[in-house]
Structure formats: C-alpha cells, structure tokens
C-alpha cells in the first residue's frame, strides 16, 4: 500500500503512456490513433510534473512569508510541461487537419485500407 501511495503519480503516468502506445500500435482508425497520441502526450506531461512534485508542497514564491523552502515544488518541470503542452496541441491540430484531408481523398480513415505507398 505504501508503494502505491508513494509512486501513485509515476504509476499513473506510465499507465497512460503505455495505454497511448497500445492504442497507436493496435488501432487502425486514424482518429483513434490520434487519440492515442493525445493520451501518450498527457502521460508524458504527468510524468514530467510528478518528477518535480512534493507531497503537500507549496508554490515556490520566496517573497511570501511563512513558506518553507524545503516544501517548495520544483517549478522547472512545470515550465517544461507548459511548453510540451503547446507542442502537443500543435501536433494534434496538424494531425487532425491531415485526417480531414485524408478522408477527403480516400473516403475512409482506416489505415489498413490506405496503402498506396509501399516498400
């Protein structure tokens, strides 16, 4: 129980990452694959935040009195996650617009049926 309690965020993060990877690898529908990509992104972001998180931590504001420096949450991973979220949004938007184009060309989103390019 103690293990679960201590590592809950890491377990959740890697759970999401594996769920995302599983969806991308097994689903043939492009929209589902994109959803998998979004879940994968979320998992990575959660992982990054949990790297710097302290249980019952506070915001890292030095000017406010009564905040202990040992309890401050590391702000760097949060800044990283903000950047990563923006990048993720850009990739998802592009992926969805490509999905629309793909549907216009082929009339299907099933990646198994779209096989013009071969080795």
């Amino acid at each position: 129980m103690g293990f679960l309690h201590n590592y809950a965020y890491y377990i959740g993060a890697f759970g999401l990452i594996f769920v995302g990877l599983y969806i991308i690898l097994t689903k043939h529908n492009l929209i589902k694959a994109i959803i998998g990509l979004a879940i994968l992104d979320t998992g990575v972001n959660l992982f990054l935040v949990s790297v710097g998180y302290i249980t019952k931590g506070t915001a890292p504001i030095f000017s406010r009195p009564g905040i202990d420096a040992k309890r401050m949450v590391d702000p760097v991973p949060q800044a990283l996650v903000l950047t990563a979220i923006v990048i993720g949004v850009a990739v998802l938007a592009l992926a969805l617009s490509l999905a629309i184009r793909l549907y216009q060309h082929y009339g299907t989103l099933n990646l198994r049926k779209i096989r013009e390019q071969k080795w």
Binding site: I17, V44, V91, L111, W119
Partner: protein, 494 residues
C-alpha cells in the same frame, strides 16, 4: 560582436513576418527566405574563426550556466550552421521559381521555421531546448511533406507525423528521467555529473533519447517513414529533408552520446560497436531497396538511408579519424543529395512522371540539369574528383586504422553497399544519356533561377573534392570538440 542568437532570432522573426509582407506585396514574399539564410551564412562565417579558437557561449537572460538556457557555438555548431545556411540558401533560391502550387507564403513560413529549428538544434547547449527546436523542425517538416495536398503526400505526412511524434514523446520521457536524476537540463552540467549515478540508471534514459532522436535520424528499424515522406514532398523540400533534417537528427544522436553520456572507445566500446553494426545494416538495407526502385525520388530517398548508415558507421568508429570522416561525409551528402533532388525536381516536372523510364533521352533535352544530376550521382558514389571521394576515403582510412578485424569486415560490407549504389546511379545516368530516341524534339532546360543554385552546388562539389583541405581543418577541430567532452564541459561551465 557577432552574436550566435542572431542565427536563430532573425530567421524565426522573418518567418512570422512573412504573412505581414504577404498582406502588402505577395510577390515579395519569396525573397525573404534567401535574405534570411544569406544573413545566417554571413554571420556563421564571421563566427567561425572565433569559434575555432574558443567556443562562443551565450547565456540567455543574463544568468550563468547551468541556470540559464545557453547556446554553444563551438566548431561543430558553427560548422553545421554554415552547412544549413548554405544548403538552405541555395534551395530557397531554387524554390523561388519551383513553388507555384497552393499558397506560396505558407511554404516560405514553414521552410524558414524548419531551418530555424535545425540551426537551434545544432547551437543549443540545453537538452530541453534541444527538444523544443527539434519539435519545430519536425512539425514544420510534417506540414511541408503534406504541402502538395495530393493523395500520396497526405498519406506519407500522416505516417511521418505518427512515427515522429511517438519518437518525440520517447525523447521527452528520456529528458524527464535525466532531469529527475540530475536536477538540471544543461548538457554540460549533466555530462559533468553523469558518473555520479550508477550506469544502469543512466542506460534507460539514454536508450529512450537515442530511440527518440533515431526516428528523425532514420537509423534502421526506425526509418519506415523516410522513403514515403521524401518522395512525395515537393523536390525542394525533399532536398532540405534529405540534406539537412536527417543530418541534424544524427548530429543530436552523436552529441547526446558522446558529450552527455560520455560513450567512448575507452569506456563502452561495445555500444559503439553496436551502433557501427546498426550503421552498416542501415547502409545495406537502404542501398538494396534503392536498387529495386523504379521511381527516381524513392530511389534517392532510399539512397539517403544508405548514406546515413555510412555516416553512422563512421561516427561510431569513435576515433578522431572516424568522426572527422563522418562529418566530412555529412557535408558531402548534404551537397550531393541537395543537388540530386534539385536536378530531379525539374527533370520530373518536364517529363511529367517520376518513373526512371520516363526520363529517357533527357540528356539531350535538358543538358545542363542532367549534367548536374550526373555530377551529384558520381559524387555520391564516390568517384574522384568529386567531394564524395575524399569522404569515403577518410572513412575507409579510419576503419583500417582501428586494426580490428571486425571493422575491416564491416568496411568491406560498406564497400559492397557502394558497389550497389554505383550500379543504380549508373543505370539512371545511362537512361538519361544513352536510351530513347537519338534526335527528339528540343526540350526546355530548367529556368536560370534553378540552374544557378545547381551550378553553385556543382562548383562546391568539385572544388572541395579537388582540394579537401579547405574543410578538413574545421572538421578536425569539430571532431575534437565531439570527442573531448571535458573541454566542452569546461568551456561552458567555466
């Protein structure tokens, strides 16, 4: 003083200024990328003498490293930014006339963003910053692959996007693990502390980062996207993707391995051997697939995979000869492959088909373009007096200098790959000149604005091929920077 920040800030700013220019004068837009990249070329050349003496370190925000994001313009960074600016400038001049379909200003924005990302990756000294620039590079290349909006280009872009973003996620997990271990993102700072934790706990982030970067670098099991993406993009984009994007990916792999993780011949030779074998495998698979293609752009794309394999092999030899040879081969591949794609672009445009058989008799219809293609092909195969010859020569010398039987066997396999390469390139040259009707109707050659960059590339290929000492001095100090991580750490952290 010349500041390396300008190399990133100017193209980035101009990229977003493109739509503003387009509001007033649509015709002026196409001159912006050549202007930005010409500026970059001049600045990088001005930086070079200073960077060769001492790496130029720029701390952003006025903090001292490791607390800030820093740029490291050492010999490697400046060398790569010169190559990127040069190839980018020539391809953008070519694209002024070549890109006519769709909204041209979107092409120019994405093109500038792609090259900004590439320049950022080679100059940055912060691993998360490397990820961000890498994503700029990747996202703009996904969009550029889909630029023509045809069936095949959309499909390849989707494939490329999914594989690329899984790779980027793996890279980000690796970076997160490194931050958890060391509490810093500065590459020199991580490199300094890498010995303080057990090798086993560093191995997982290393594997994740190498796999993530390896997708963009097209190392063998991760390169399924490359032939589709490179063959269905517009030819000017293929030239940059083949000539710059995968080289930058490979640079990032090598920088992370050599500098951060301290992989070297003394500490972990077995990992380098693994990479060398992977390189040869990539080379053989790329060349064999290229041999069986009938589509000229797919053939060139597979040949890029082969060349990347050869470069990876050379870098993984791990001696200063090997790394210098690998860097030389990178330059040689950038120039030759850019030339091949640019020439093939107009040949396909005039022939109306990408099939090699459709190019019969082109040697008479488009003599200058075909001559450029032939020179690029001969250079890639490694015939003297072109730039490919000293590149391959340096790699063979480095492999023989290791005096290990295994490396000699591997370089023999690499030479076998070169023979296959020669076979399919000579086949195309034969189709161009010796097949088809002897006296067909006179055709039109490529326009002057496309011939000028091809001509400059030909001059560079021949000039460096005849006198390789022009670049080997810079390459040797670049190889020394990559292999000598202690100097890198000292120059950044002081």
């Amino acid at each position: 003083m010349v500041n390396p920040v300008l190399l990133i800030a100017v193209p980035l700013g101009l990229a977003f200024a493109v739509p503003l220019f387009a509001l007033f004068c649509k015709a002026a837009v196409k001159y912006i990328p050549p202007a930005a990249l010409g500026f970059n070329l001049v600045i990088s050349l001005l930086l070079l003498p200073k960077a060769l003496v001492n790496p130029v370190i720029v701390s952003i925000g006025g903090w001292q490293p490791p607390f800030c994001i820093n740029l490291v313009a050492g010999p490697v960074g400046v060398l790569f930014s010169i190559v990127i600016a040069l190839a980018g400038l020539l391809v953008s001049i070519y694209a002024m006339d070549y890109i006519k379909e769709q909204a041209a200003e979107k092409y120019h924005i994405l093109y500038l963003l792609l090259l900004t990302g590439a320049t950022g990756v080679v100059l940055t000294g912060d691993i998360f910053n490397l990820f961000v620039f890498f994503e700029i590079l990747c996202i703009s290349s996904y969009a550029l692959v889909a630029y023509l909006r045809e069936k095949s280009s959309i499909e390849s872009a989707v494939k490329y996007l999914i594989q690329g973003s899984v790779g980027s996620s793996l890279l980000l997990i690796g970076i997160g693990l490194l931050y958890g271990l060391f509490g810093t993102l500065n590459m020199a700072d991580i490199a300094q502390n890498i010995k303080s934790v057990s090798p086993a706990s560093v191995f997982v982030p290393m594997l994740l980062i190498i796999t993530g970067l390896g997708v963009e670098a097209a190392i063998f099991p991760l390169n399924a996207w490359l032939p589709d993406a490179h063959s269905s993009a517009p030819s000017s984009v293929s030239a940059v993707l083949s000539g710059i994007a995968i080289e930058v990916g490979l640079y990032a792999v090598v920088r992370v391995l050599f500098t951060i993780f301290g992989v070297s011949l003394n500490s972990t030779p077995e990992f380098l051997l693994f990479l060398a074998m992977l390189g040869i495998l990539t080379l053989l698979i790329g060349e064999m697939c290229a041999f069986s293609q009938n589509n000229i752009k797919r053939m060139l794309a597979y040949s890029s995979i082969g060349q990347i394999g050869l470069i990876l092999f050379a870098l993984a030899i791990g001696t200063s000869y090997g790394v210098a040879g690998g860097l030389f081969q990178m330059i040689s591949h950038t120039l030759a492959k850019a030339l091949l794609f640019l020439a093939a672009g107009y040949m396909i445009y005039r022939a109306g088909s990408m099939e090699i058989s459709a190019l019969e008799g082109m040697g008479e219809k488009m003599p200058l373009t075909c001559l450029a293609f032939t020179i690029g092909a001969f250079s890639l195969v490694g015939l003297p007096p072109f730039i490919g010859f000293p590149g391959k020569f340096l790699i063979i010398r480095a492999a023989l200098a290791t005096k290990q039987t295994l490396f000699i066997v591997l370089i023999a396999l690499a030479l076998l790959g070169t023979v296959i390469e020669g076979a399919y390139f000579f086949r195309v040259v034969q189709v161009l000149y010796f097949k088809g009707p002897k006296s067909g109707p006179a055709g039109k050659d490529a326009p002057a604005v496309a011939l000028v960059p091809m001509f400059i590339l030909v001059v560079l290929i021949v000039a460096v091929g005849i006198y390789p000492k022009m670049v080997t001095g810079v390459l040797n100090s670049a190889a020394a920077e990559l292999l000598n991580r202690l100097d890198y750490i000292r120059s950044v952290l002081g």
